[in-house]
């Protein structure tokens, strides 16, 4: 019955230097594969895909390589009558993609491209009586959507449009015995969910209600001997948790509780030296999602070749400075 530690071994010949040029080329070329089968299969999350690509390009100071006009037009055509924004044309609006769209437009300093008042109305209408948020009109409840709602509104400077106190009480009701957070009250803690909830509490000025020492312990125990981070106990490491765990630790002021050098080595080992891009684990297939979270993780670790990233919104700090948004962090 003995527990076997789930982890990976980093090979001695794994990449150990950051190859930014290749990553930029990989992302720049990704959008041109529109006739690709896999690309079409991921249409249901296209808006988030564009956000991942553009954000990592901006962090690498390569945003001008992307087609601003075409993307803006695309986003405009994805806003629906109700105000919500969908992942792609023909798909239904959802908070997930509404946030991604507003993040993209913020990168481009052009939120007015969509009907902002309608976006606000859309979000407001999705708040439930208990303070939670449904992802769309079909009623799935999740603390991810609480984060999407306040993050979008904070970027638009309209946080007061919703019942913030009720929203806070709902998120706090999802706090667990280990200090972490799950999808709904009673759900198990998960690093992705913890990121959403600590980010939510940062944007709503309630970080003092987190049990930071307890949660920080759970989070730093996510680091495995390989240096990588997992998202829950007894799970494999994955580059995307370099973001979710690390950003949460940064938000609660305890990023120094993990071994930064070992995590950096793990993230670098997940690069593909041939194609560019990052995979979830060394040797796996790369994708834009892990490429953003690999680069953003390195930024939080102090990598100077990329721009500083904001741990709450996963956007470049200079962009948030421009709109005057400075989410709280514990110190």
């Amino acid at each position: 019955m003995g527990t076997q530690m789930k982890d990976v071994v980093i090979k001695p010949d794994a990449p150990n230097a950051l190859i930014l040029d290749k990553h930029a080329d990989y992302i720049a070329a990704y959008g041109s594969k529109r006739d690709d089968y896999e690309y079409t299969l991921s249409e249901y999350l296209r808006m988030s895909g564009i956000y991942w690509g553009l954000t990592v390009m901006d962090l690498m100071s390569q945003l001008p390589r992307m087609n601003c006009e075409e993307i803006t037009e695309f986003i405009k055509s994805c806003q629906h009558e109700c105000g919500g924004i969908s992942a792609s044309i023909g798909h239904d609006p959802h908070l997930l993609y509404t946030l991604s769209a507003v993040q993209i437009l913020t990168l481009y300093d052009n939120v007015q491209a969509v009907d902002v008042d309608k976006v606000v109305e859309y979000i407001k209408a999705l708040q439930q009586e208990d303070g939670s948020f449904a992802g769309d009109k079909w009623g799935e409840i999740d603390t991810r959507f609480s984060f999407c709602a306040v993050a979008t509104l904070a970027l638009l400077g309209k946080l007061d449009a919703i019942d913030v106190n009720k929203a806070i009480e709902f998120v706090l009701s999802c706090m667990n015995f280990d200090g972490g957070f799950g999808c709904r009250p009673g759900s198990e803690s998960h690093a992705g969910q913890i990121y959403c909830c600590t980010g939510f509490l940062s944007l709503t000025g309630q970080l003092h209600r987190v049990n930071a020492d307890l949660l920080g312990w759970w989070l730093c125990e996510r680091q495995l001997p390989s240096g990588g981070l997992n998202g829950r106990p007894e799970k494999l490491p994955d580059v995307c948790y370099s973001w979710w765990v690390l950003a949460s630790l940064k938000i609660i002021g305890r990023i120094h509780w993990i071994d930064k050098a070992k995590l950096r080595a793990f993230i670098l080992a997940c690069q593909d030296e041939e194609t560019g891009g990052f995979a979830d684990r060394p040797g796996d297939m790369v994708d834009p999602f892990h490429t953003l979270f690999g680069v953003a993780g390195l930024s939080l670790l102090g990598e100077e070749q990329v721009k500083p990233v904001n741990p709450v919104l996963c956007m470049p700090e200079d962009v948030l400075r421009r709109i005057g948004l400075e989410p709280d962090l514990l110190n």
Partner: protein
């Protein structure tokens, strides 16, 4: 699905593939090897796909849906089989392979896009028929995250509800559940499939929650950590009124078969407080409608577990960690069990200074004073004062101050009575300032409140003692087990924090060595415990001097407990900063923090009584790092020897300009 081999349509397809193959074979004009034949057969099959797509379009019109579906499936199977053989037998040049792959994908793409577009256009035209159900089913089977298609299905199902008899509706929804189950088997972690299952279950005219619960059982037996399934289980339990103790027995069973099951331990943490609450619900003055308030979290005060049950849990957890001392699940759970209740919400201290004409209030938790209804009454008169946090960066703080109007209390011959009301919590604290006194305070100290000890009652110390003994036994067997070491430290603190200080420090040293990746965590935790011990020692000695030098402190905490401290000595530690919370030390007169690595003095801000600062041998390197000191009106002595900033050009003139009141400057 049934057997479709006798489908006439399938026969056509097979014939056409065979013809195509024979044609290709004939073109070669020579006898072929087996490998080549298989390769040609595959080409024939691939080339036939376009025909299939064309047929498909035709068939939709002809409503030959079943035939189409079976044909499609049979085709996929053949293709898969051939591909497998192909991959094993033939090694081709990369370019050729790539080209073949590309063509295959192109065709797959066409098929997918065609089906998607038909779905979209049907929906746009408001068509809610069974054909649409089948099309979305095909697409969702391979791509269950395509949430818009689930939405379309729900629209269709809702439409069918209005036009069909109840029995029909029941059947439709039951077949929908079968479909979702197939999706879940293929992809048990799809948010969309699980949400749809919950949606369908709730709409079923005659729901069968027992079946749903058994689905959860089966799913969790395949993956006991699938949080989607656990969440769905909680829905089923709630909807069907499964008893809490039944669910607790379910976790008994799972934990019994595998201790290393974090999800089950988590579930226990939510069930136990419901089943064995520490005390009955406190009567709420304004009962809230149950619907509007979410269930309480296991982190909150009144959802702890009664002591009797706690003892049983200790035993269960011990079984777990003696069986597998490296499994973190049980240790995390054990730490929760050992944890203390949240502090009572109260005003823990009121301090008033005649000289500064200021009142400082300390709360048991961080608050926003302007939002919680804080009121100051002086000699029976409510005062109009402006409460402010001790530091602008602390919007929520345990310590708030206000300045009284000039000359209100300055006459030393007068006696004054103050009351601070925390109206939101219906609580208050009085404080009398007698004549002849320059200051006064009223408080519950950390020792009074047993702040840093376990919440278990004193009578049960024997229980903790026996827990400690067990852990010590385990540690003898596994001297380097970090979980066991940390737990021993926690137990020692619950029992006798000062008595065990030396052993605690030794265990922390071992922890930093055996788990070096987390050494900063252990340093910070050890610092916290040493600060707690120093506060206890200070309070037993009834002094206002806090001295904690040479203890490897890496961080500061509990600074709200130091509101009354006049002298602090933090020298020879590993501190890098004096954080904003430092200005909770509202009575501080002398600050010593020599021989640290301090580069940030943000918290040395508006300390009304601070006169002397010694910061020898630190890392202050910039003039602006010293800026906060200018807000301390009484500062007259400053020792900065051994800091890089003193080496800067013009330092002397800059500092005289910044801090004109400092008369004794040591550089």
């Amino acid at each position: 699905m049934g057997d479709h081999t006798h489908d006439p349509f399938m026969g056509d397809i097979s014939d056409m593939i065979e013809q195509e193959f024979q044609l290709r074979e004939a073109q070669k004009q020579r006898p072929l090897q087996e490998q080549e034949r298989k390769s040609l057969r595959l080409e024939a099959l691939i080339c036939y796909r376009q025909t299939l797509i064309d047929l498909q379009t035709q068939m939709w019109k002809d409503e030959k849906k079943a035939q189409l579906r079976s044909a499609n499936i049979a085709f996929q199977k053949q293709l898969l089989q051939l591909k497998r053989m192909h991959g094993r037998l033939k090694v081709k040049s990369t370019a050729q392979q790539e080209e073949e792959k590309r063509k295959e994908r192109e065709k797959k793409l066409k098929l997918y896009v065609t089906a998607r577009d038909v779905c979209f256009s049907k929906r746009k035209e408001g068509v809610f028929d069974e054909e649409a159900l089948q099309l979305t089913q095909q697409l969702l089977s391979s791509n269950p995250d395509f949430s818009t298609l689930w939405n379309y299905r729900r629209e269709i199902l809702m439409h069918l509800e209005t036009v069909r008899e109840e029995d029909d509706v029941q059947k439709i929804y039951e077949s929908e559940l079968s479909f979702v189950e197939r999706c879940l088997r293929q992809n048990p972690k799809s948010y969309g499939s699980w949400h749809h299952r919950g949606w369908v279950s709730a709409r079923l005219p005659r729901p069968d929650w027992a079946r749903e619960l058994s689905l959860c059982d089966r799913c969790l037996s395949l993956d006991e950590r699938n949080f989607h399934c656990w969440d769905y289980r909680r829905v089923v339990v709630r909807m069907s009124g499964v008893a809490v103790d039944q669910e607790l027995r379910f976790t008994d069973r799972l934990i019994g078969s595998n201790f290393s099951n974090y999800s089950s331990w988590h579930y226990r943490s939510t069930l136990l407080p419901l089943l064995h609450p520490e005390s009955p619900e406190p009567p709420s003055p304004t009962p809230q409608p149950a619907k509007a308030s979410p269930p309480p979290s296991p982190q909150t005060n009144n959802h702890r577990v009664c002591e009797e049950q706690l003892l049983k849990e200790y035993e269960l957890v011990q079984n777990a960690f003696f069986t597998d001392p490296n499994d973190q699940s049980a240790w995390f759970y054990y730490r929760w069990l050992l944890g203390r209740a949240e502090r009572e919400e109260m005003i823990s201290c009121v301090y008033v200074s005649r000289e500064v004409e200021r009142v400082a209030v300390c709360f048991s938790k961080p608050v926003h004073a302007r939002a919680v209804g804080l009121m100051l009454v002086l000699d029976g008169q409510p005062q109009r004062v402006e409460w402010r946090s001790v530091h602008p960066r602390l919007r929520h703080s345990p310590v708030w101050v206000c300045d009284l109007p000039p000359s209100t209390i300055s006459d030393i011959g007068n006696e004054h009575n103050l009351t601070v009301h925390w109206t939101e919590k219906h609580t208050r604290r009085d404080c009398a300032l007698y004549s002849g006194r320059t200051q006064s305070w009223c408080r519950d100290s950390a020792t009074d409140q047993e702040l840093f000890r376990s919440e278990l009652s004193v009578e049960k110390t024997s229980v903790l003692q026996s827990e400690l003994q067990s852990c010590n036994q385990l540690q003898e067997l596994e001297p380097l087990n970090k979980w066991c070491l940390l737990t021993i430290i926690l137990l020692m603190r619950a029992l006798d924090p000062l008595g065990y200080e030396k052993e605690t420090l030794a265990h922390f040293q071992t922890l930093k060595e055996v788990d070096s990746m987390r050494s900063a965590y252990y340093s910070d935790l050890c610092s916290k415990f040493m600060i707690e011990n120093t506060i206890l020692k200070m309070e037993y000695a009834e002094v206002r001097v806090f001295s904690i030098s040479d203890k490897k402190l890496s961080t500061l905490c509990h600074l709200d407990q130091l509101l009354l401290v006049t002298h602090i000595n933090l020298s020879s530690n590993e501190l890098e900063r004096l954080p904003p919370q430092f200005c909770m030390l509202q009575c501080l007169e002398v600050l010593e923090a020599d021989n640290n690595s301090i580069e940030d003095l943000e918290g040395v801000y508006q300390l009304p009584k601070l006169e002397e600062i010694s910061l020898k041998n630190n890392k202050i390197s910039k003039m602006e790092d010293l800026a906060p000191l200018a807000s301390c009106p009484k500062l007259r002595r400053l020792d900065l020897r051994g800091n890089p900033v003193t080496q800067m050009a013009n330092f002397l003139s800059d500092i005289s300009e910044l801090l004109p009141s400092v008369t004794e400057l040591l550089l």
